[in-house]
Amino acid sequence: MEFEARAQLLDADDIARVIRRVAHEILERNKGRDDIALVGVRTRGVFLARRLARTIEEIEGGSVYVGELDVSLYRDDVAIRRASNVGVTQIDFDVNDKKVVIVDDVLFTGRTTRAAMDAIMDFGRPAVIQLAVLIDRGHREVPIRADYVGKNLPTSGNEKVRVSLTEIDETDMVEVGEERER
C-alpha cells in the first residue's frame, strides 16, 4: 500500500503554532506545570510529547516529565492484525498522583487511546489522564474524546491522514489522501 496525498492540511509553521497553543491550554487547564507528565504514544506521539514538554518548560521554567509508550501489547486487535515489532516503553517517573497527558498524532477510532490508558494504569494511579492530539479525524468506535485538539478534520472512512515530523521524516506537515495498492 502506498499513500497518495491529496491536500496538505498543516505546514511546519501551523504545527509549531498548534504546539504552542496546546502547551498553553495544558498549563491553563492544570493551573501550571506541577505534576504534569506527558506520555507520547509511539512513534510520532513521542516526538510531539517532547516538543510540548520543551514549550511548556520555555513558558513556565522548570521541567516536566516525559514518557514513551508502546501500546502493541495492550491492543484489542492482536488476534486480527499482524504482530508488529514491539517498541520500548519508557516511563521513568512515578505516575501515581501525576496529571498524565497522553500525546498522540492522530485520534481516529479511539482504540489506541484505550490501550494507552490501560498501559498507564499498570504503572500506577494517576490523578487524572488527559488526551492531546494533533489531528482528530472522527470515526470513534469507543466513548473517548480529546481534551486538547490541534485540528479537527472530518474525514471519510477510506481517507488516510499522514503526519510527518522532522525527527524521523523530511519535513513537518500533515496531509490527507488515500492509500492505494502499488
Binding site: L73, Y74, V78, R81, R82, A83, N85, V86, V88, F123
Partner: protein
C-alpha cells in the same frame, strides 16, 4: 519464522531461521525486558491463549522461564511433565499429543530426550510448537537469549570472536549457539578434545582449537559448556583432571589475562571442573543476567508466534 503444517508457526531450530528472524527477536526481547521491571509485571497481549509446557526430560530453569514468560503475557499455562520409563518414547509422545489436541491449546513448548521430537509433534498437534531442547539437536531459545545477553553487554554481535569450550558434540546449546552466532556474523572457535567435536563440523563454518590457552586473549566471549559428569566414564572423555588442565578456566589462567573476555555458561556450573570457584564468583553477574534475559526472550518468541494473525 517457519510455517509448520496447517499454517501454524513454530520455533524448532535456529538452523531454519534467517538472520533477520534472529535480529528481530532480539530487538523485541529488549522491549519485553522492560515489562519485567514494572511493578505490575504483566501485559494483556496473549490473554485467552493457552500454552502447554510439555517436558519429557527434567528441567527447572527452562520450564520456569517459559512459564513466567507466558504468564507475564497473560496466557494460561498448563504444565505437563512425564517420565518416559514404561512406554517407548515415540508412542508416549503421540499419546500426549492427542490429549493436547483435545484440550484445544494454542502452543506447545516441548523438551524431549530425542532429537527431532518437536518436529514430529508438529504433525500430530494443531497448534504452534516451540522446541525447548531436543536430544543433542538444538535448544533455540537458549541460543537466542545468549545472543541477547552478549549484545546487551558488548553492544554488537557482528565481528565478535566467540570461543565455545567443552563437550560440543553432546550439547544442543552449543549447536544452536554455533548456528545463531554464524548467522549474525560472529567468528566461532570450538575448543574441545577431538573425541568431543561433532562429526558434521565441516558444515558448520567454524575453526577448532586444541586447548583453552589458544583462545584466551583472542576471544571477546568465552562460552563454557557444562560438563555432564555422567559422561566422564565414557571412552570419549578424558579424565576430569585432564579436562581441567587443558580446557578449564582456572584461577591461574584468569588472573593472568589482561583482556578479560565476557564469560558465559548455560548453568548450573561445575565449580572446579570447567571453571574455578573464584572465577565463577567473578563472572556470576553475567550468568544470572542470562537467566533474566531468558524470560524476556521467551516472551518475544511467544508473542511472535501467537500474537496477531499471520495470514
Amino acid at each position: 519464522m517457519k510455517e509448520g503444517g496447517g499454517g501454524y508457526r513454530n520455533l524448532l531450530a535456529i538452523s531454519s531461521l534467517d538472520k533477520d528472524d534472529v535480529l528481530s527477536l532480539l530487538d523485541s526481547a529488549r522491549s519485553f525486558a522492560e515489562v519485567s521491571t514494572r511493578s505490575v509485571k504483566k501485559v494483556p497481549a496473549l490473554r485467552g491463549k493457552t500454552i502447554v509446557n510439555l517436558f519429557m526430560e527434567p528441567s527447572t530453569r527452562t520450564r520456569m522461564s517459559f512459564e513466567l514468560a507466558a504468564k507475564r503475557l497473560s496466557a494460561d499455562v498448563v504444565n505437563f511433565s512425564s517420565s518416559t520409563s514404561s512406554l517407548s518414547k515415540g508412542e508416549s509422545l503421540k499419546d500426549t499429543a492427542k490429549t493436547i489436541v483435545a484440550m484445544g491449546v494454542d502452543a506447545v513448548v516441548v523438551r524431549h530426550g530425542s532429537a527431532g521430537a518437536p518436529l514430529m509433534l508438529t504433525d500430530w498437534v494443531e497448534c504452534s510448537v516451540i522446541n525447548a531442547g531436543d536430544g543433542m539437536h538444538e535448544h533455540p531459545t537458549q541460543a537466542l537469549l545468549d545472543l541477547f545477553t552478549i549484545r546487551e553487554r558488548l553492544g554488537r554481535l557482528e565481528g565478535l570472536k566467540v570461543a565455545i569450550v567443552g563437550d560440543i558434540d553432546h550439547s544442543r546449546v552449543a549447536r544452536s549457539n554455533i548456528h545463531a552466532l554464524r548467522k549474525v556474523g560472529a567468528e566461532v572457535v570450538l575448543v574441545a578434545p577431538q573425541s568431543l567435536l561433532p562429526r558434521d563440523i565441516q558444515r558448520m563454518d567454524v575453526a577448532v582449537a586444541g586447548t583453552i590457552d589458544e583462545v584466551l586473549g583472542w576471544c571477546d566471549v568465552l562460552y563454557l559448556l557444562r560438563i555432564q559428569l555422567e559422561r566422564v566414564n565414557e571412552s570419549r572423555f578424558p579424565s576430569l583432571r585432564e579436562y581441567t588442565l587443558l580446557y578449564g578456566l582456572t584461577d591461574a589462567r584468569w588472573s593472568e589475562l589482561d583482556h578479560k573476555p565476557m564469560v558465559m555458561h548455560p548453568g548450573p556450573m561445575n565449580r572446579g571442573v570447567e571453571i574455578d570457584s573464584s572465577v565463577a564468583d567473578d563472572v556470576e553477574s553475567v550468568i544470572t543476567g542470562q537467566v533474566a534475559a531468558g524470560v524476556a526472550l521467551r516472551m518475544a518468541v511467544l508473542y511472535d508466534l501467537l500474537g496477531g494473525s499471520h495470514g
